[in-house]
Symmetry: D2
Subunit: 411 residues, 4 copies
C-alpha cells in the first residue's frame, strides 16, 4: 500500500553520486531510470537545481561563483508505459513537499557577469536570502517583515524532445546567439559538454554535444517556472518519444510571477507525488503545441494585491512598441521603489519580488504603443501595511540581505 518512490536522492551527496542517477540536459537518448503505469501513484525525489552549490549561510559568495553550466539537475526520465509520440501525457501533481529535516531554501540574485537577471542593470551584484520553512510558511532572516504560505511547485517538468525537435531548438537558438555572440549575459546558451551530466560519464560524453540546456522553457514545457503549478495541478504535456521520458526538478517553495531575479524562487530539494494518464493522439485532437495546465484547488487565498503598473517606456524615457517585457520590468522597478520607502534595500526588494507569491499580469497589450503590465503584492504577507496613506510610509529597520562577504555592497 506504500507509495513507490521511483527516483531517490541523497542531499548529502554530490549530483554525480545520487542513488538514482540525475541529468542536466535534454536529449531523447538519455535512458529512463524507472517505468510507471498510467494511473499509478508514485513519488519522485529531486535535488535542488544547482546540485547543492548554495549553502545556508550569510555569504552570497556561492551565488556569485555559481557554476551555471551544471543547471538544472533533473530527476528522470521516467518511462510511462503506453505513451507514444503525439499523445498528451496528463500529469497530476498530487503533492509537493520539502525533504523532511531539510526545511530551508534560497533565493539568489546572480551577478551580472555570471547569470544576470531581469534587473541586472540596476542590481549587478550577487545577493542571497535564506528562507526557513515553518510548516506551510516561509520566512527569511535576510528579508524581515514578511512571511507567507508557499505555493510550492516544480519549476521544471517536461517530456524528452524527439531528435528532430532537439535539432529545431538548437538551430533557432544558435541563430539568436549569432546576432550578438559576445553579449553578457548571453542571449542563449548552446549545448556544451562543460558541466553536462546525463546519468553517467558515458551517456554524457555521447550526447553532450547536442543535448539542449535546461534553462529556457520550450514547446515541451521544461523550465516554465509557472508558480501556480502547485499541489493538485494537472498538466497536459506533449509526448515526442516512446514512453514520454518525463523529467522534472527545480522545486520551488514559492515564486513570484516572472521569477525575476533568475534564481528568484525559493529553491530547494523536494519530493513530488505524481500520477499520470495518457490521452492518445491528444496533440492532434486538441491542437496542442505547448503544455496546457489546470491549477489545483489549494492555492493560498491572498487577495489584497497592491498592484503596480508599468508601461513600455524604459528608464531613459525611450518609447517601445507594445513591449510587455519592458512594461513588466518597469512595473517591477515601481514596486521595488515602493518597498524601499518602507526600509528595504533595493536588493531585498528585488529578491522578494522573485520569491513571494506576487502576481504578474498583462493588462493591456494592444493600446499602441504602450503595453501595460502589472505586478501585485499580497498585502496579507507583510507585517506592516504597504498601502499609501496620508503622512507617508513608516520606515522600518529591515537590515539587508546576504551579500558577498568582504565586499562593500551597493544599496
Amino acid at each position: 500500500m506504500t507509495i513507490r518512490t521511483v527516483c531517490k536522492v541523497d542531499i548529502s551527496k554530490p549530483a554525480s553520486e545520487q542513488p538514482t542517477p540525475v541529468h542536466n540536459r535534454w536529449h531523447p537518448n538519455i535512458n529512463s531510470v524507472a517505468t510507471v503505469l498510467p494511473g499509478e501513484l508514485f513519488k519522485v525525489e529531486c535535488i535542488d537545481w544547482t546540485g547543492g552549490q548554495i549553502s545556508n549561510n550569510d555569504d552570497a559568495s556561492d551565488i556569485a561563483n555559481v557554476d551555471l553550466s551544471q543547471v538544472h539537475y533533473l530527476s528522470g526520465p521516467i518511462h510511462v508505459s503506453g505513451a507514444e509520440p503525439g499523445d498528451l501525457l496528463c500529469v497530476e501533481i498530487s503533492d509537493v513537499q520539502p525533504i523532511p529535516g531539510n526545511e530551508w531554501g534560497f533565493t539568489g540574485i546572480f551577478a551580472r557577469n555570471n547569470g544576470g537577471g531581469f534587473l541586472d542593470e540596476h542590481y549587478p551584484e550577487a545577493a542571497k536570502a535564506i528562507w526557513d520553512f515553518e510548516g506551510i510558511f516561509a520566512k527569511s532572516r535576510h528579508i524581515p517583515g514578511v512571511r507567507f504560505a508557499g505555493l510550492i511547485h516544480p519549476g521544471l517538468m517536461g517530456c524528452a524532445p524527439s531528435q528532430e525537435l532537439l535539432e529545431t531548438w538548437n538551430k533557432r537558438e544558435a541563430e539568436l546567439i549569432s546576432t550578438d555572440p559576445n553579449r553578457i549575459p548571453a542571449l542563449a546558451n548552446p549545448p556544451t559538454l562543460k558541466g553536462a551530466w546525463m546519468h553517467n560519464a558515458s551517456c554524457t560524453h555521447s550526447h553532450g554535444h547536442d543535448a539542449a540546456r535546461t534553462v529556457p522553457p520550450r514547446e515541451h514545457g521544461g523550465n516554465c517556472d509557472i508558480k501556480n503549478l502547485s499541489r493538485g495541478s494537472k498538466v497536459y504535456f506533449p509526448v515526442y518519444v516512446t514512453g514520454a521520458k518525463l523529467s522534472m526538478g527545480d522545486i520551488h517553495f514559492s515564486q513570484g510571477d516572472g521569477e525575476i531575479s533568475f534564481c528568484g524562487a525559493i529553491e530547494m530539494a523536494g519530493i513530488l507525488t505524481l500520477k499520470t494518464e495518457i490521452i492518445k493522439n491528444g496533440m492532434a485532437l486538441y491542437g496542442a503545441k505547448n503544455p496546457i495546465y489546470l491549477p489545483g484547488p489549494v492555492e493560498p487565498r491572498y487577495n489584497r494585491l497592491l498592484t503596480f503598473q508599468g508601461i513600455s517606456v524604459d528608464e531613459a524615457g525611450k518609447q517601445f512598441f507594445l513591449d510587455a517585457t519592458i512594461s513588466y520590468r518597469m512595473a517591477c522597478l515601481n514596486a521595488i521603489e515602493h518597498l524601499k520607502k518602507f526600509g528595504y534595500t533595493g536588493y531585498q526588494a528585488y529578491l522578494l519580488l522573485g520569491a513571494a507569491p506576487v502576481e504578474g499580469k498583462l493588462a493591456g497589450i494592444v493600446d499602441v504603443p504602450n503595453a501595460c503590465a502589472t505586478i501585485g503584492l499580497p498585502l496579507e504577507i507583510f507585517d506592516f501595511d504597504l498601502t499609501p496613506v496620508s503622512g507617508g510610509p513608516i520606515v522600518h529597520n529591515l537590515g539587508d540581505c546576504a551579500r558577498v562577504v568582504g565586499k562593500k555592497p551597493s544599496k
Copy 2:
C-alpha cells in the same frame, strides 16, 4: 441624501451634444466640468468609447468603418478640491453599473487596415459580437456556449497631464513613429485635429494640435484596461495639475487580460460611483511614477483556469529574446486553437479571449531566451467541458460571430 451625478450623458444623442460636455484628448487646458470634495460620494455617467458608432445588430460593417480618430470619449475633467501637483489622488470605484434600459455591449475585431489588433495577421477582417446583460451575467448570440459574470470596470481613468508631461509624451511617441512612419497599423498615433473633441469647438481648436490621443496607457494611468479595476477597487493616481482634473470612460462590462482584439472588452455606456481622497505629496513619499491600485472584494470566483502557455518563438519558428509580447501572442493562439476544436470559429475564439475574464500572466521572464506567458480560461463559464479527455473534444454547433454583411468571411 441622494448621491450627486456630476457628469450626465444621454446615449440617444451624439457625443458633441451631451448634457455634460465630453472630450477625447488629454490636455491640461481642458476646463473642468465639475468640482468635488475629497470624501464626497458622486456619480459619473459615461458614453461608450466610440460615442455610439456601434449598433446592436448582426452586421460588423460599423466595426469595419469605425472612426478611430474620435476615441475615447471621456467624462470629465473633474476638479478635486485641494489636489495639487505631486499629490496622489486615491479614487475608490465604489460601483460601476450599466445604464438602466441599455443592458447590452459589444466586442469588436477591427480590420487590419483600420485599427488592427493583437492577432491581426491571422484575423485581418472586421468582426463583432453583441452581448446581452442578464443582471450580473453577459451572454452573446454571436458566441453561444458561454455565459459569465462581468468584472465590470472603467478601461480608462487618469488625471490630466501637465504641459511638460504632455510634451514628453508627444516627443517620445513621435520618435517611435519616425522609425516606420507608414506602418499599418501605425506604431503610435500623433495629435490630430481630425476627430478631436474637447467639450466644444473652441477648446478643440485651441488645443487639438498638441492634445494627446487617448489610446495608450501612460504615466498618469489612462487607458490601462486593467480588468480588475472593478467594483470596490482603489486607485492611487499621480496628480500633475491643480485640482487633478480626473477624466474617465471606456466602461467595460468584462474584459480578458490584454484586451487582445483592441476593441476586445465588452464595451458599453455606464455609470460610475466614485469617492476620492488626497495623499499630499504622495508621489514623492511613495516614489510613485505610475498609478498603484488595490482590487475590490467582489471579483467573480472563477478558479478553474484551463491555462495555455506560449514562449517567445513566433509562428515561423523564429527565436526571440525574452519577448513576453510574443509569448502571450503564442499563448493566445494556442488557446484559440483549442477552442476551435470544440466548434468555435477562430474569430469567435479571438473575440472571446478579449471579452471573457481570462487571466494573462507572465510566468517566467528570465530563462533566456524564452519568456513564458500564459492565458487561463475559466472552465466555469462554459456550457461544456473544455478539459482534454481521452477520445477528444465533442464538436458543438456554435455558429459564428457577426461579420460584414455581404462579404464572404474567412474562418
Copy 3:
C-alpha cells in the same frame, strides 16, 4: 430589448397603495399579479419588509413601536407559465440592487416585548442603526469603524403553498403555540386578520383567517434569510400550485448568518432581476422537500474570519444536549464580548453581528453532550485589527447606536 418590470413599487406611498399590489401573508388563493415565461428575464421591485415603518433618523422609537402584524410585505405572486405542482422552479437571481436615489437601509433590535430577538434576555431594549450605501459598500454613523461590501439578497422568496400544505403549517404551529400560549415573545404567530394585506381589502378579508404569517421559513422556502442567496444564485423551489405563484421581498443589503437580532439584516427596498426555468416533476425526481440552492460567483472575498466558539452550556452553566441553538447563542455572546473590549457597546455589537457578513457554522453536532457552533467575523471589514495581541485591545471611541430618544439606554 428593455427588461420588463413585472412588479413596480413607489416607496413614497404606503403598502396598500403600491402600483402593483403587494401582500403579507401566504395563501394559495392570492391572485397572481403578473405572468412570466420560463427563460424570460424580468425585474421585480420590492418595498422594505415593514412597508416603510422605519425612518432614516437617530431615534429607535419606530423600531420600538413597529407593527409586526404587517410583515413581510411581498411582491407577487408571479405566475410562471407551465409550472405545475410537483415541479421544481429554478429561479436565477440575476441581480439585486437598491432603488436608485434610496441608497440606505436599517438594522434593528426589537424590544423584548415587541418582537424580541436571539439575545433579547441580554439586550431587551429597542435599538437601531442606519446604513448608508456607498456603491457596493455599507457604512453606518451608528456603528463606526466598520465598512463592508454587501452580500445583497432577498431574505424571503418562495412559491405559494397548496391549501393542504397551508393547513399542515397552521396545525403544527398551533400545536406548538398551545404548549405555552402566553409566552413573550410568542413561540409562533397564528393567522390573524389584524395587519393582514393581500392585494386589496376583499382578498384580505376572504383569506386572512387562515393565511399563514410570513416570518418562519417553511418547506417552500419563504423567509429563509440565507445571506448567500445573492447576485447570480440559483434556487430550486418546490411548486405546489399551478403557475407556482412565486412571491418575494425582504431585501437585505447584507446580513450575518442567523440574522440574530431578528431585524438584523440591513433592510431596504430593492429591485430583483430574475429568470426562471421549470424542472418537470423535479420534486420526485430529486426527492426535494425544501428548496435547494447554488450561490452565485461574486460573493465578497472576506477570508480572514476571526472565529468565536460556543458550546451547548448556557450562561447559567446549565448543560444541554447537542443544542446547536444554544451553542450559536454562546458563540455570539463571546463575539460581542470581544467587540466590546474595543469600544463598541453591546447593542452596537449585537446589531453588527446581524448585519455584517459573518459566518455562522455548525462545527460539531455529535460530540455528546456539547454541540459546537462558531461565528466568524471578517477582519477585512474593520478599520482596526481585532486579533488578540500582547498588551490587549486598543479601545476606540465608537459612540453608540440609535436608541429610543428620551429614554436612558442600558449599555
Copy 4:
C-alpha cells in the same frame, strides 16, 4: 536546524506502548511529556483517535465493536514555558501531514447501540469507508464518484482544565445524565476507569475517577471538530494551569461541518507542526471564555456549493421552536435523499457528509418558530453533476460502503 519532534508515536504499537506516552482523559495532574518555548517550532506526532482499533479492510466489524471508553488518545500534555492561568495561548498550526507510508484513513458510522450518531434513527447499523490519500486528495473504494482535497486538521486540541473547571464539567454533565440515565446512546459519558489511560497505570489509577472524557468540546476547546482548523490556522486557547499543558489528537484528513456520523471525519494518525505564543492575561483582556481562531490561508477553493435547507420540523412533522439541531438534521437528510437519487446508498451518503468538506451553516435563527440550517456540497468534488436538470438524475453504479461482513445490510 532540524525541527524538534516533542511527541513521537509508533503506529505499529498499541496505545499503551507509544514512545512518548499518550493519554485519553482530561486532568490537570497528568504530567507534561515535553516543554517548549514560546516562538519555538516543534512537531507532535499523534496516533489515530481510537488507538489503532480500525483496520484498512472491507469489514465494518471493527467499527461495530469499537471500544469507545478508550477514546480519544491524545499526545501531550506539552508544557509551554511561561504560560500561566488567565493567559491566552496562541497556537499556530503551521502544518498537518499524514505519517509517511501510512497514507490512508477511515470514516465510520457507529452502530446505534455502540456510539450512535446524528442520524442513527435512520442508519442504526455500523458502516465504514476507507480512504486512500493521493497526495493532497482523498478517494475511497467504498464511496466512488468523489475525490477531494483534504482540509486536514486536528479534531481535538486544548489546554488542561484546572481542578475547579474539571469539577464544573463533571457536575453539570452528571446533572444532564441524571435526567435520563439509561438512554442509549447516553446523554453524556461520566468519568470512568474503564478504558482510561493517562501515560501509565499509576497515573491512570490515581486520576481516572474524576478525569473528564474527551468526546465533548468544552470551554478549553477540546474536541471541537472544527474542520477549518487546518494548515496555517491560529487558535487562541484559554490557559487554566501553569505551563498550559496543551494536548491534541484526533487528526482528520478531512471532515464535513458537524462531523455527522460521529466517526464522520477521515480519521488518521498524523504529524502536527506547531508554534506557540503567550498573550499574558489574555482571557480578561479579551473577555475570552472559549478558544478563538483564525483559519489559515490555504483552504481548498471549493465554491460551487449545492446547498440543502432544513427547518425545525422533524420527520414526523412535529414543530420545534428555533431548534437548529433539528434544522441541520433535516438539511442532512435532504442532502442524503438527493445523493441517493444518483446511486449512492443512504449509508454511503451519510458517510460522505461526515467526511467531505461540506459547509454546515446557520442561515436564520430568529424567525419563530423555524430555525433554518443549510448544508452545502461542493460540486467540484464529484465526478458527475449533482445539480437538478430537466429529465432528472442519471443513476450511477456506485456499489456500497463496507458493512459488517456476514450480516445482511439495510439500504
